[in-house]
């Protein structure tokens, strides 16, 4: 039987939610991950772990020059090495850069032209991984070097405006120059953040299997399989329906797996050429050199205020970088558009062309680094005003989008600030450089948090079986965030079927299409698709019971109505299925949707060495309904941890002479380790967002990072009285200004 369909376009608010009327008690509870046992017992299959017969192993070959052309590849020099099957390249179809999230066309193709060091130009295929790697490292390649742009400072004058992205490249209202001139107090400062890498634990990997009908099955590590299948098909010259992507488990994405990466196309072309399935796993160095980076930023912040702290102008002008011809720009000012009221506004982005690896989305693109500039500048302004930094933010909170003039769908910024201040003990904060603990200066800082909420077109199928169990299937993914668990909880709550009786099939493009995971949209989008499917199934169960839907109670596998109780499985014949489809609609224009919060940090700065250690952090967040208290908290802990990285340690270091990325492994690209992460506390404010989606939830994961780094930076200033505007705040930048400790 064909499944029923239930479609919803979010043109109107959804004031009622079945998640509030369900009685199963599954929603919001801190369930352990349903996929947890599989993961800890090694049974969860990641992209490189599928047992495919007759598999050959590929190792990618990266360019050793930063700009120029490949003249020739001497494949014969390595073909005869033991175990080597072939050296495969396709100068036209290999992708030069990774794909951006959500694109359905192939990223830039053609690898005769080298636009960054590490660009994937060939793949060596062998009977073993070791043989492939040996040959790949020995493969002679002749290049013709051309001058490239490898030094941001030297090329910053070549910046130009990119096309609009998720945020406009240029936006202004009022007259910022005049407001600055007339301000009682103003700030004009420049903050700099470096290029960063997502540093997901699982490297990018693909196993390409050509089926007899000429279609391709690709086991890959993807956040968005539905659109990635289109990207991959386009790169290979196939119709989309001829590509099936399977990504059941993903070892972290953080944006780097939104689009396809070069190993997928290389594996597919090699598999076709040798007539065998090919596995290609990126070496860690290749993940750094050939996927995506977050762009470095240079942010000029101008803030103007009256003496009472009312902002009259906000200027946030950013320089970012990407390869010449690539449109994506780090949307630095995206949070600045909506967080504070101010009549005069100027938010711009200019792109500096550089021959570094592609810039793309990474961990809250925009807010994660944009809030660094804005929230540190706010701290500077508060000090100039002689005002508590929380009070400054409270004064400039707004219920109306200051640029679009529409209301926020829900917004608890002041609530988060106040609750955080109380829980953190903000009243114990002292003047800069006045609190000591032995050798250490101690300080507190805070920052607001904002992250735009997105609803993405998604669908999911839910099926109830005669034995009373249910199956949820969708091309949605779980990138370590908890999708499996929350989708099971939503279905469980509405259908009255215990979570353990719900099985899930995710990450397979043969299942109903979905937007996958990214931009913190996964739970709201796919969760709504599951909701809609379950809504229809609930109606069908009511019909089978012969009662109105409103009279039906579903709990513990039983349908209860009119003093009768019957097992749900007995009501579905041979089984019933429904597909739910959600689409964004007018609610996006009629309201501005975002999650809000506040970060608090206490740090210690060593007076001798300038070392910074975070002592404790608190994040208070309002993100609509919390679907699972444990996975939501874990998401925020992760975001805050990467906030520590942004503030203190993470930086891609390029050699300015040739664009070489020198710290391309996890020993030298410093993400925070356990010892860097102290007690982190997360608190959620109760909130429901009826404009966002029928489950009333907004994005959570990226809210945890947005604002975390500036809270730490502001705490450093409070600790030792030194304002570092060049991130990360490594000890050498503090050392020069630290007073003699002895």
């Amino acid at each position: 039987m064909d499944p029923f369909t239930n479609s919803l376009t979010m043109d109107k608010p959804c004031p009622q939610s079945l998640l509030d009327t369900g009685v199963q008690g599954s929603i919001s509870r801190p369930f352990d991950r349903v996929d947890g046992p599989k993961k800890v017992s090694g049974k969860a299959t990641y992209a490189a772990e599928y047992d495919v017969p007759d598999l050959a192993y590929g190792f990618l070959v990266g360019s050793r020059i930063g700009a120029g052309r490949v003249v020739s590849i001497d494949a014969d020099a390595v073909r005869s090495l033991p175990g080597v099957i072939d050296v495969v390249t396709d100068f036209d179809r290999f992708i030069r850069v990774a794909g951006q999230g959500g694109e359905t066309e192939a990223p830039t193709q053609g690898v005769k032209t080298i636009t960054s060091r590490g660009e994937i130009i060939a793949i060596v295929v062998a009977e073993t991984y070791e043989a492939a790697r040996d040959a790949a490292l020995q493969l002679p390649v002749n290049y013709e070097r051309e001058g490239g742009a490898f030094d941001f400072a030297a090329h910053r004058n070549e910046a130009n405006a990119p096309p609009d992205g998720v945020t406009p490249a240029h936006a202004s209202q009022g007259d910022i120059e005049k407001a600055m001139a007339e301000a009682d107090v103003s700030i004009d400062v420049t903050y700099v953040t470096p290029s960063q890498n997502s540093a997901a634990m699982e490297p990018h990997a693909s196993i390409a299997v050509w089926e007899q009908d000429g279609s391709l099955t690709l086991y890959g590590a993807y956040q968005m399989p539905t659109s990635d299948a289109s990207q991959l098909a386009d790169a290979l010259g196939l119709p989309s329906e001829k590509v099936r992507i399977i990504s059941r488990y993903i070892g972290g994405g953080f944006g780097s797996k939104l689009g396809i990466a070069p190993e997928s196309v290389a594996a597919a072309i090699a598999a076709k050429q040798i007539g065998r399935p090919v596995k290609a796993v990126m070496a860690r160095q290749q993940v750094f050199e050939a996927t995506v980076r977050r762009s470095n930023t240079e942010q000029r912040l101008r803030l103007a205020a009256t003496a009472d702290g009312t902002l009259t102008a906000i200027g946030h002008e950013s320089l970012v970088s990407n390869q010449p011809g690539e449109d994506f720009f780090e949307p630095v000012g995206i949070g600045t558009h909506m967080i504070y009221a101010a009549e005069n506004r100027l938010i711009t982005h200019e792109q500096v062309p550089l021959n570094f690896v592609l810039s793309g989305s990474m961990r809250a693109p925009g807010e994660a680094v944009g809030m660094v500039g804005l929230e540190c500048a706010m701290d500077e302004l508060a000090e100039q005003l002689g005002m508590d930094p929380i009070e400054l933010r409270r004064i400039n909170d707004t219920s109306i989008d200051p640029e679009k003039g529409v209301p926020f769908s829900s917004r608890c910024l002041t609530g988060a600030l106040d609750e955080g201040a109380r829980r953190f003990g903000w009243d114990r904060r002292q003047a800069p450089a006045s609190r000591r603990d032995g050798e250490w200066w101690i300080g507190m800082g805070m920052a607001s948090s904002v992250r735009g909420n997105m609803l993405m077109e998604s669908s999911a199928k839910v099926e109830i079986h005669p034995d009373g169990s249910a199956t949820v299937s969708s091309a949605m993914t779980d990138i370590g965030t908890g999708s499996y668990t929350i989708l099971a909880q939503i279905a469980s709550e509405i259908l009255g079927i215990p979570v353990w009786q719900i099985s899930l099939s995710l990450g397979d493009t043969n299942d109903p299409p979905a937007a996958g995971s990214g931009g913190s949209w996964g739970a709201g989008s796919s969760g709504s698709a599951v909701y809609l499917a379950c809504e229809t199934l609930r109606e069908k169960l009511a019909t089978a019971m012969g009662v109105e839907t409103s009279a039906l109670t579903l709990k513990d596998g039983q349908a209860i109505a009119a003093n009768r109780s019957q097992p749900i499985g007995e009501l579905v014949g041979e089984g019933i299925a429904a597909v739910g489809k959600i689409k964004p609609g007018k609610q996006e224009e009629e309201t501005t949707q975002a999650s809000f919060g506040a970060h608090f940090a206490e740090v210690a700065v060593n007076s001798v060495t300038g070392e910074v250690r975070v002592r404790r952090m608190l994040g208070v967040f309002a993100a609509g309904r919390v679907l699972n208290a444990k996975t939501a908290r874990s998401q925020c802990l992760g975001g805050m941890t990467f906030g520590i990285g942004t503030a203190l340690t993470e930086e891609l270091v390029h050699d300015r002479r040739d664009g070489k990325l020198v710290n391309r492994d996890l020993a030298e690209y410093h993400i925070p380790v356990n010892a860097d992460v102290p007690q982190l506390d997360v608190h959620f404010l109760r909130e429901r967002d009826i404009h966002a989606n029928p489950i009333h939830a907004k994005g959570i994961g990226e809210l945890g990072i947005s604002g975390a780094a500036p809270a730490i930076a502001n705490a450093i200033y409070n600790a030792c009285g030194i304002r570092v505007r060049d991130f990360p705040i490594t000890l050498d930048k503090l050392l020069a200004k630290l007073p003699d400790p002895n």
């Binding site: 040996d134 490292l137 050798e439 060495t609 070392e611 410093h670 380790v673 010892a675 860097d676 050392l735």
Partner: protein, 326 residues
């Protein structure tokens, strides 16, 4: 990884005998060598696995010192009650290095022979005199924030990454070896390492195929000990600057001082000048300043690592202050 021959040795004698050819390597924990082989920075033709040799014990000698087998894991050495009690600087240095997993696997002998973490050494697409003699040094003029300010040459500015070896220098350890011809040598840790000069690929005085069998610690020094490591994150990062210190105060004068430094030089650094500036003096701020001046008189930064010079000064003075305060 290049194909290589693998042999397992069960005795030190068999190990050195099996080690034939210039490009063989001994392998114990493999925590550094295997990474380098995967990247083809090291391309041995043969690995002689010494991990099963009976060299994993820590024994007390009659003179009050310890003899440490070359295969004692770093974790075990750090946790040995005698080491914690009598050689605190060594235990602390070990625990400041790497991560718990690596310390479980890494051996005492292998730790001494870690290769530099210079970015350009690790990248076979870069010029590096240590990796490929005569090819040049891309670190000079490149990204050198983590590199050396003392003991460098125009051919190499790499640092030695070991924490343990810094403590070994502060403790005047002796390296015991077995040579291929059956001779045994005792090499003072102070003579063990070589500065880069124009042969940065030669890092120690070990002959080809010479096996470290033990490290001897002399009887515990009197006085106080400390290891202070300054790094970019709280764990799992190499030292920007580290100080291994032993100091003994008698009648308000510094009677004995042994100071070794990590993160500053191509070898764990020990400076006699520092100790001369301290011994016989009262532990005052002026004395400490003089010691720092002595340490850094010849220091030379390469741009990115200039900060290491003031950082070393501040760290040394603070360590001295801590050790001489009551």
């Amino acid at each position: 990884m290049k194909t290589f021959d693998y042999r397992k040795a069960l005795t030190p004698e068999a190990a050195v005998e099996t080690f034939d050819g210039e490009t063989a390597r001994f392998i114990a924990g493999g925590t550094n060598l295997l990474d380098l082989m995967k990247l083809q920075v090291e391309t041995p033709d043969k690995l002689v696995d010494i991990s099963r040799l009976d060299l994993a014990s820590i024994d007390e000698r009659e003179d009050g010192g310890l003899t440490i087998g070359a295969l004692v894991p770093n974790a075990d050495l750090a946790a040995d009650p005698r080491v914690i009690d009598r050689y605190e600087v060594l235990s602390r240095a070990l625990l400041a290095g790497a991560s718990g997993q690596l310390r479980n696997k890494a051996s005492t002998g292998g730790n001494l022979l870690q290769r530099t973490r210079c970015y350009y050494f690790y990248d076979t697409g870069s010029r590096c005199n240590k990796r490929t003699p005569g090819s040049g040094c891309d670190a000079i003029g490149g990204a050198n924030r983590i590199l050396a300010v003392l003991g460098t040459s125009e051919h190499c500015i790499a640092t030695h990454p070991s924490d343990m070896a810094v403590a070994m220098r502060a403790l005047d350890a002796t390296v015991l070896t077995l040579k291929r011809d059956g001779d045994r040598r005792r090499i003072s840790i102070h003579d063990f390492y070589r500065l880069p000069g124009d042969t940065p690929h030669i890092e120690t005085v070990l002959d080809t195929g010479e096996l470290i069998t033990h490290i001897e610690l002399p009887k515990p020094p009197s006085g106080r000990q400390a290891y202070r490591k300054v790094r970019d994150r709280a764990s799992y990062a190499f030292a920007l600057v580290s100080v291994g210190a032993v100091i003994h105060i008698q009648e308000r004068r510094i009677a004995r001082a042994a100071f070794a430094f990590g993160g500053l030089a191509p070898m764990p650094w020990r400076s006699q000048a520092v100790e001369l500036a301290l011994i016989g003096k009262a532990p005052t701020r002026d004395t400490f300043e003089a010691a720092a001046d002595a340490l850094l008189a010849e220091a030379k930064g390469f741009g990115g690592n200039d900060f290491k010079i003031p950082l070393a000064r501040r760290t040394l003075i603070a360590t001295l202050r801590d050790l001489t305060e009551h």
